[in-house]
Structure formats: C-alpha cells, structure tokens
Symmetry: C2
Subunit: 324 residues, 2 copies
C-alpha cells in the first residue's frame, strides 16, 4: 500500500553540552514523544550515538518505524550543515571532526541533517514561532553562551563553509581589559551577555562597588544569572545595574548586526530573557541610542514565541524535513 | 525589424559627493563612452537630474537611442534598492527622500534601478572581477568613507528595507574616547579605516609622539592618507605605524564580519588599498590573530580586480540589466 511508504514524521534532536533531547514531530509541529540522555557521559562519539539510538529507536518504532520518517534534524554546537559534521566543539566531549550525521543515518536508516543549535532555533521560529512570514531576521539565543541564527531573503545563512552566524563571538570590547572568551579571543559578546557573562558582571560589580546588595549573601563564585534576577525582582539596586550594563552591551552589538543585514526583527530567546524588563528595556534603549539614523525605529525587538522546553526539538525537527 | 528592438546597452552611473560619472556599457562589460558632472553644483534634485540628462542623452542617442537600452543602474550613497530613492544622504546636497529612480526614468524613458555605491561595486566584482563564481563574499570599499556590499547565497543582501550592508558604521570602539562619526554615533569603523580616518590617526600619532617624521613638514590639518603613504614609502617610521594601526582595526572588524556570514572572500577596494603591504599585512595579521578557530585560514583577503576608474560605472551598470 502506498500509505505505508508515506514519510509522516521527523525526529528533532538538540545536542547540548549537558543533555541531548530528541523527539518525534509530525508535519503540524506537534511533539509526539521525547526522551533524553546525558551528553557528557560518552567520551566516544560511537558510544554516544549508540546510547541515543537505544532510546530513540523505540520512539521511532512506536510511530511506525524508520520508513515513516522523512529525516532526523539535529541542532548542535559547531555543527556543519554542508558536511553533517560537528567540528572542534569546545563544549562537547568529542574532539576533532565527528561525522555525526552519517553515524545516525547508518544506525537508523533515516536521512540526517545537522545545523548549529541557534540556526535550529531560528528555523523553529520561522516555521512555528514569531518569525512566521519573515524573510529577514536574526535570532539571538542567550543561554550559557550566546548563539545566533540569521535568515536573509528567506534563507538560513550558512556561509561558504556552513559555520556562519557566530554573533556571540563578535568582539564588543577591543580594550586590553576585555574579558577572555572560551574561544581563545578577548572581548566576545558572549563573555558579557550570556548567563555566565551576567554572573561575571555581578562579581565585578560587587567588588567595584561598596553598596549593599542581596547578592553579597551568596558566595561570589556561586552567583548565577538567576540569583541576579531574583535580587532585581526584590528591588536590589546593584542587580538592576547588572542587567542594565548587560542590556547596554547587547543593544549596542545589535545595532552592528542591524547595520549588516537590516533585519525586520531581532528575536531573543533563552534563559536571560526571563529577566523581562530588567534586561529588555536597557537593550531597547541602547538600540535607540546607538542605531544609525537610517535604521531608526525599524528592526523590531521581540521575544521568542516558542516554549523553552519545545523550541530546541521543534527547531531541529524543521531541518529534518529537508534532510537528504 | 526585431533587431531594432533589442536592448543592447545599459547605463552605469556612480553618484558621489563630488562627481557623478556615467557611461554606456555593453553586455560584455565594455564601457563605450562616459561623461560626468559635479554633483555638488545642484542644490535641487530636479536641476541635478536635468544636468545629468543634458550630458547623458547625447551618449544614449549616439548608441541608438533609449529603445536600445535595457536599463540605467545607479550606485549612490544611501540608495534604497526597493524604492529607487536616495534617503537622508549626509554627503549629497539633497535633503530628505529623493525619488531619483523615477525622476531618471521619466526623463529618459529607460527603467532605472538604484543601490548604494558599495553594493554596486560588489555587483561589478561579481560580474566582471575577483568575485566571479563566488556565492558568499563581502566587498569593503575604503575611500573617503568605508562602504560595504554583502553577497550571501549568490544574492546581494539588501535587508528588509533596502539599506543592509552598512559595515562602515560598525562600532569598533565602545570607549568614551571613541571617535565621533558623521552619522552621529561614536566609534564607527569608518572613523578609523577610511582615507579621512588615516589622516585623523596621523594627526593623533604626531601629537602623541615626539619622534621625527616626514609628516611633520606638512601642516597637521592638511595631511592626507596619500601623504602618509608617500612618507611610508620613504621609510618613515610613524607613517608605517599609522597604517599598522589602521590595518589592525580593520582586520579585527573583518573577523566580526566573517563571524556573521562566513564569506569565501573579503574583497577590498579603494584608495587606501594603494598603500599595498603597508596596510594589507597588518590587516591579514590582525585577522589571523583575532579570528575564531573555526574560521581560521578560511576567508581569503583579496584586492579588487576592477580598475578604479571603471569600477563604479561597471558596478552600477550590472544593476541596469535588472532594472524594471
């Protein structure tokens, strides 16, 4: 029967430094089942792929088996869309170049495509979220690091080598005092505007400033961006100042991105955005203050419409429909 | 006869703050005749268009008349590709929004398209120059200002409003000491890496430094980037230092652009590039030093293959073939 050959589902898989989450998604964007494993528990990529498949294959079987699946879409740091590889990823346990797409395809029999996690988030936003109908937008993910997915003329920007869209590593501070980044350089946006960047700013502000703060009750090295948010909610002046500084740096950086591709919107996603107006207002103010006259008031600053829990899997799944 | 209806030619027109140059170009990129007028002599856009057409129409007539022309392509600062307008151009005499495309179309009867001058240069490079066959590259024009034209997936990046590609206004210095830019902001790339930026650096270096220099023979306010080059050629240490600093700033900025779109090449064009190794070596060194590991050694740094005299008209003419 022809119907048994129909490719009804895709797998969306999000590979993070801590967890790998995967799910079965139908053509309407419904997540029909998910599971996860710990990424860091597998030093060898082969063992990792085997462990994922041990959990994934039952999900696939429960939805009619591999022949009902159009593709597997994977979002992962340092993923190369053109080659289906993960290359030199500092936050993943595997060194060098890992042909992850091919490895999953061989094990599952399903075509597999990879892109970086922020690109996957942008695809999710374009397919199911705030960017529906937009042809030019930039997605910025503010998590442990800062990622980005760029869409121009309705197409994901992969660049000549598949690695475009590393806006978290734009240099925003060129002074000798700029912060050291994990990428080996200094002054990258990510060192200021990620969750870890906010925690770092908190430690600096507390040292540089004698004012009382709720944050002083926490050992400096243990302060998280969540602590800063909790303190800000309780009216803590230094905590509010920390978000103010973070937003200023991000807003200024966004004006540079706007000067590049003049997007219709900048879509923000990730844990840091939960700080709400504490961070959003300084970002918007910094944009308004630093934007070139020709772009004034044009690019909308909006928050992702996808639920945190679903966004990564949904985004990656959108890529699954194009897998070859 | 069908042949008399064939659209054999285009007009390429480059509108600069000082001169407007235009020429008739055939489908092979041969420039068959050019003329020019002074842009600044016409305070009213109507008078300006009339003055251009007074010189342009005889050229058009000499090549078979308007019906032999496929289009007029115009490169101009702050040109809006989508609307055919020039908007808020600080270096042109006309204020507000000027519907230049429509004005030329009405006077000549030939479809007219506009884009900014750096986009036109990129189109020229893609059609006739160093970027033939490339799908992802960034053109940087280093003249009185710093312009850029970005090509991604084989398409010119216009952005949602037609103004994308303002890389000369990337903020490269966020400190309070950053240089004031004509655009109203501080720390723009253009204030450091244009011909005027080099002259500005020269004045600063001469004040900050007691060393002897050939440049001290010139009144500080009259120093040009050409003077700095001439001094560098004669082995002047401070002049060489000035190009070194300029190249460092530009190279660092280029790593940010590479992180955005991961181009196959960065193509440099304009007066400043005549400084040769004095500027090219520091640029390449700053790229190598500041590039993210994932992009190391990938994007080629190359010099435009188009002759200065022809590039602007050729680039703009490439747009003429698409005019509607």
């Amino acid at each position: 029967m022809a119907t048994t050959m129909e490719k009804t589902y895709v797998v969306g898989m999000d590979i993070g430094g801590t967890n790998t989450v995967f799910g079965v998604v139908d053509s309407r964007g419904n997540i029909l089942g998910t599971d996860s494993i710990k990424t860091g528990a597998y030093e060898q990529a082969e063992d990792y792929v085997a462990a994922v498949c041990e959990r994934l294959m039952p999900l696939i079987e429960a939805h009619g088996g591999a022949e009902k699946f159009r593709g597997i879409g994977i979002g992962a740091p340092n993923a190369n869309y053109y080659k289906g590889t993960i290359e030199l990823a500092p936050n993943l346990p595997w060194k060098g170049i890992v042909p992850l797409g091919q490895m999953f395809k061989e094990r599952t029999g399903i075509p597999t495509a990879l892109t970086n996690d922020a690109n996957a988030a942008a695809m999710g936003e374009m397919t199911y979220g705030a960017a529906r109908g937009m042809k030019d937008f930039i997605m910025i993910t503010l998590g442990t690091g800062v990622g980005s997915g760029i869409v121009i003329n309705g197409q994901m920007v992969y660049g000549h080598d598949g690695f475009a869209g590393e806006l978290g590593h734009s240099i925003v501070d060129s002074t000798p005092e700029a912060r050291q980044c994990n990428c080996g350089r200094k002054g990258c946006l990510e060192t200021y505007c990620s969750a870890t960047g906010v925690a770092r700013t908190a430690r600096e502000v507390l040292v540089a400033n004698a004012e009382p703060s709720l944050l002083r009750e926490i050992p400096a090295e243990q302060i998280t961006s969540k602590d800063v948010y909790d303190a800000a909610v309780r009216g803590d002046k230094l905590a509010i100042e920390i978000f103010q500084r973070t937003g200023e740096i991000l807003g200024k950086a966004l004006t540079n991105f706007i000067a590049f591709s003049s997007p219709e919107a900048i879509i923000l996603f990730g844990g840091l955005i939960k700080a709400g107006d504490f961070i959003m207002k300084p970002i918007q103010e910094a944009i308004d203050k630093n934007i070139q006259p020709i772009f004034k008031g044009k690019a909308k600053l909006i928050i992702s419409e996808l639920k945190d829990a679903d966004a990564a899997v949904l985004g990656a799944s959108a890529l699954g429909w194009e897998a070859k």
